[in-house]
Amino acid sequence: MNISAIVAVSILVPFAGFLLNFLFGSKIPKSLVSIIGCGSILIALAMNIMLFVSALDGPATITYFNWIHAGSFSVDFSFLIDRLSVLMLLIITGVGFLIHLYSVGYMHDDDAYFRYFAYLNLFVFFMQMLVMGSNYLIAFIGWEGVGLCSYLLIGFWYKNTNYNNAAKKAFIMNRIGDLGFLIGIFWIFNQFGSINYKEVFAGAQGFIINNNYNDTVIIFITVLLFIGAIGKSAQIPLYTWLPDAMAGPTPVSALIHAATMVTAGIYVIVRSHVLYSLAPFTQDIIAIVGITTAFFAATIGLAQNDIKKVLAYSTVSQLGYMFVALGVGAYGSGMFHLMTHAFFKALLFLCAGSVIHAMGGEQDMRVMGGLRKKLPITFITMLTGTLAISGIPPFAGFFSKDEILAKAYEHNPILWVVGLITAVITAVYMFRMLFLTFYGNFRGDAHQESHLHESPSTMTIPLMVLAVLSLVGGFLGIPEVFGGKHILNDYFAPIFSDIATVPHTGTVLSHSMEFILMAVSVGLVLVAIYFASRMFIKKTAEGMDEEPKGFAKLLANKYYVDEIYDTLIVKPADWFSGFIYRFLELDFIDGMVNGIGRATNYSGKTIRKLQTGHIGFYLFAMTICIVILILINNFFIS
């Protein structure tokens, strides 16, 4: 098979899976639905592994046809297969396949089983399109498509109004970002005369050669693209949709709202790294937004009682870390953390799903506890994930997070300090979650306790695979301090070679300094875990339902950000719409439409009286009129 056929199969098979399940899913048995759903992703995964092998030899652009051609504007329907996109493809289909498999067990009682798998396949299709596209427009199709799938899956249980509202919120918040992204694309075309990555980045090379940094146009373009990334990757100020997105089924949260879709913003910025390297000003904005989000979301995570909400805020926080990496120009580190995060966050969500499954749909950690013995596999895997996200060596999160922190220190020690505090907070809330869920005594009712069971093997196998990945994923990027080989940096070297000449700000860390930084962060995290264990491990049901006070209350209410948005934006918009509705719509437009109707009605009622029914009168009127016409014709017109 040649490469263009492989790409076509890889991208079309999930779409075919979507069509089959969506059109015929209600008529075929569930087992066939799961085979179609999982099988199509497995095929795509196999294709992507072949693409990975071919991309190691060098990038390839596969053009299928010329899609839009108007004047100087020309867009090919083409895909770019290079080291960056295939890595993303492997994450999407690899983690995606495991989550599909998990869903077979998790969703087995759901009536809309086929619809779930159809949407999930559609998501993989769009996500692959977003990643593979060789120009901004193809990427934008995928970008919008994954937004749609996110909306469909958050509102999957559409009979619940709250879930629908969460879906709408996610969609609208994403639209705000999408607008920025779209305008950014327009501006790119205006500046570079093309929206193909190759030509745009070739054009950007001119700026590097001329040493033209912080050009106003480039700053605007990069900021606009970043606004798109803010919406998709849930950063301040557009992050509030992601915690609400937990309304969807848990595997969806794992796949879309943790491992893949939310990293689309990271991917687009890494893809456009040449442009960002030209705009250090934008990079500073990204770093500030990223570190603020990381810290802010982590503190909120401390006070959440819903197991999925904790994970949602930790996702927002970890995405903040990735943006810090991008902001300091460490694109490879951002991708590294993206990958390890995909492993351990998918793992954590799936474990949470397994817990929720065992608890019969209960998500409140206050009624859990002591599940360690009932759910041994889930416990072990979740412990792995928690250690990974907390950054304990040798788990994956340690390597990627400390790489980002080291790069942040090189750029600006303040970033490192805030990042370190965030890491400590992360450890606290993650272990709080683990202890509340798996340690202590069971705090639920007797019925729930009798229902507790370990999940079926379709659910535990993905957990185990992801746990192994969370353990070994970090070995792809062993820092030089440990004398290891940074495989991922070598892997990405060809991708980032085009910004090699961009001057690097900040100092290069000495090995001893790097080692000290690591030791400090690991030490502090261990202390944090110790305190978390003292506080939460023996937690009993007493005092759980107490109303939090002071700062804890502020945290539990997520800093009232939703309320502030509601007051500042939603309410005024609502009021303004109501105003327009009352005056413009009801009085003016409705008045106009009804007025025409009423006038017609009235004139009809009046004129109908001419129809007397007397034939003699008609004849008389006709004769008179003809005479008048003749007279007019003779005396006035000629």
Binding site: L610, Q611, G613, H614, I615, G616, F620, T623
Partner: protein, 106 residues
């Protein structure tokens, strides 16, 4: 043939036809019997036919006379349908007085 027609001055034709036409108009307007109204309509049509023929002869142009045939054909068709309608209405109302037929009013 032509000479016979042209032996009468054209003014006389015009006068005669106008008179016949006006009689027809008055008949349509004043009479209430629908059969009479139809006859008056026919009178109007035929007065025009006569005038056509006269003008045709005076200007030596056969077009007018051909036109007369068309008028006759159309008139025959019209009267056939008209009378059929009258017959149907008469069956329902037992009258041919147009003033009685005033149910179709607005």
């Amino acid at each position: 043939m032509n000479s016979i027609i042209t032996s009468v001055p054209i003014n006389s034709y015009i006068l005669l036809c106008t008179t016949l036409f006006c009689i027809g108009v008055m008949g349509v307007l004043l009479r209430r019997n629908v059969i009479i109204i139809f006859m008056s309509v026919e009178l109007m049509l035929n007065s025009v036919n006569l005038l056509f023929t006269a003008f045709s002869a005076y200007s030596s142009n056969p077009a007018g006379q051909i036109f007369v045939f068309f008028v006759m054909v159309v008139a025959a068709a019209e009267i056939a349908i008209g009378l059929a309608i009258v017959v149907m209405i008469h069956r329902n109302t037992k009258t041919v007085d147009v003033n009685e037929w005033s149910k179709l009013k607005g």
